[in-house]
């Protein structure tokens, strides 16, 4: 509140600086300016999400910039989850393969 009215200029620049550091650290480059802008937007959303998780978490976890900070949640799930088809998670009956002898 006390900063309201002051020059808001540095704010986007700071985000871009953090994003540049992320690109250097994880060796990321993007094919065109539109893709760069899209990834920057995703990066900003992920930083906000990490901050929200940090505030909510009751353990000792720290959330923040990771190698996956330029991916959407859907992209991350598809790249690093084990689902065979996009949008379908593992959801089989737990009894399959259990100790109930005689069942296939």
């Amino acid at each position: 509140g006390s900063r309201r009215g002051q020059d808001p200029g540095p704010q986007p620049l700071k985000l871009k600086e953090v994003f540049t550091l992320f690109q250097i650290r994880y060796n990321r480059s993007y094919s065109n300016p539109a893709e760069y802008a899209r990834r920057l937007d995703i990066f900003a959303r992920n930083l906000a999400e990490a901050q929200r998780l940090q505030e909510e978490d009751l353990g000792t976890a720290e959330f923040g910039v990771t190698p996956f900070s330029d991916l959407t949640e859907e992209e991350f799930g598809q790249l690093y989850g084990l689902q065979r088809a996009a949008g379908r998670a593992l959801n089989v009956d737990r009894k399959v393969g259990s100790d109930e002898r005689g069942q296939t």
Binding site: A61, Y80, G97
Partner: protein, 251 residues
């Protein structure tokens, strides 16, 4: 059940953290890690088995497009064991219908595999007495994870939607962060007493530079991220003559 257990502290049991790169093969790397650790415990023999064999010889097609832990164990049973990582190295791409299993000597094999009961106390007991096991969790929170113990809720990490397999290698307790607790209870006149947080130690497959040197910790006792949904392990059994177990889980 001992109060703490960490198989990483026992020499030659846990192999180095792998990096699955652009191949969606957490299931194969985790199954391989399970077999490696059980061989280390049962035979005091350090082995690194071929993840690539699991991908190429997988009966369900392209292993880099995902798979299930039990598919990996069925492949091991069908191939009568796994070649070494050195002979049949990981390439982060799968070559369907190009299984090279028969070309190489097998360095590890399994008798069968089982699913454990979905109870965290039972899982801890099995982990401490038999060795590391595979679990499948909701991967969502790991996108932003850096370090520490994640205490997830069903809202921010749905325990029914599990989509990432990892190796459970230990458990313990740590002190809570006083500042964090105080921040969430500002109306309290006195600071909340410090209490301990029980956690699981899990080995991931995103390289040693991710998380806590390739590992992460999840809260124990709350089915965090669905950790109890599919606790599965291979079984490596010694011949009847040599039944005595020599290695136990270090505290």
């Amino acid at each position: 059940v001992p109060p703490t257990c960490d198989w990483r502290k026992a020499a030659g049991i846990i192999s180095p953290v792998k990096d699955q790169k652009n191949c969606n093969c957490c299931w194969a790397i985790t199954a391989a890690g399970n077999i490696e650790s059980l061989w280390g415990i049962t035979f005091q023999k350090s082995v690194e088995v071929s993840v690539q064999q699991l991908l190429d010889c997988n009966r369900c097609g392209d292993g880099c497009k995902g798979g299930y832990i039990w598919d990996a164990f069925i492949t091991v049973l069908n191939d009568s064991g796994l070649a070494s990582e050195k002979d049949y190295p990981f390439r982060a791409t799968s070559r369907t219908h190009n299984c090279q299993a028969k070309k190489y000597k097998k360095v590890a094999w399994i008798q069968d595999f089982i699913m454990l009961p979905d109870c965290e106390q039972g899982i801890a007991r099995y982990l401490a007495t038999e060795g590391p096991i595979t679990v499948t969790i909701n991967v969502k929170l790991l996108q932003h994870y850096q370090k520490g113990v994640i205490k997830a809720t069903p809202t921010n990490c749905d325990p029914q939607h599990v989509d990432h397999s990892v190796l459970l290698v230990g458990f313990g307790k740590c002190k809570s962060v006083e500042g964090r607790q105080a921040a969430t209870s500002q109306s309290r006149p006195h600071p909340r007493p410090r209490h301990s947080i029980p956690y699981w130690i899990l080995k991931n497959s995103w390289g040693a530079s991710w998380g806590e040197e390739g590992y992460f910790r999840l809260h124990r006792g709350s089915n965090a991220c669905g950790i109890t949904k599919f606790p599965v392990t291979a079984r490596v059994v010694k011949p009847a003559k040599k039944q005595q177990k020599l290695v136990s889980c270090p505290p």
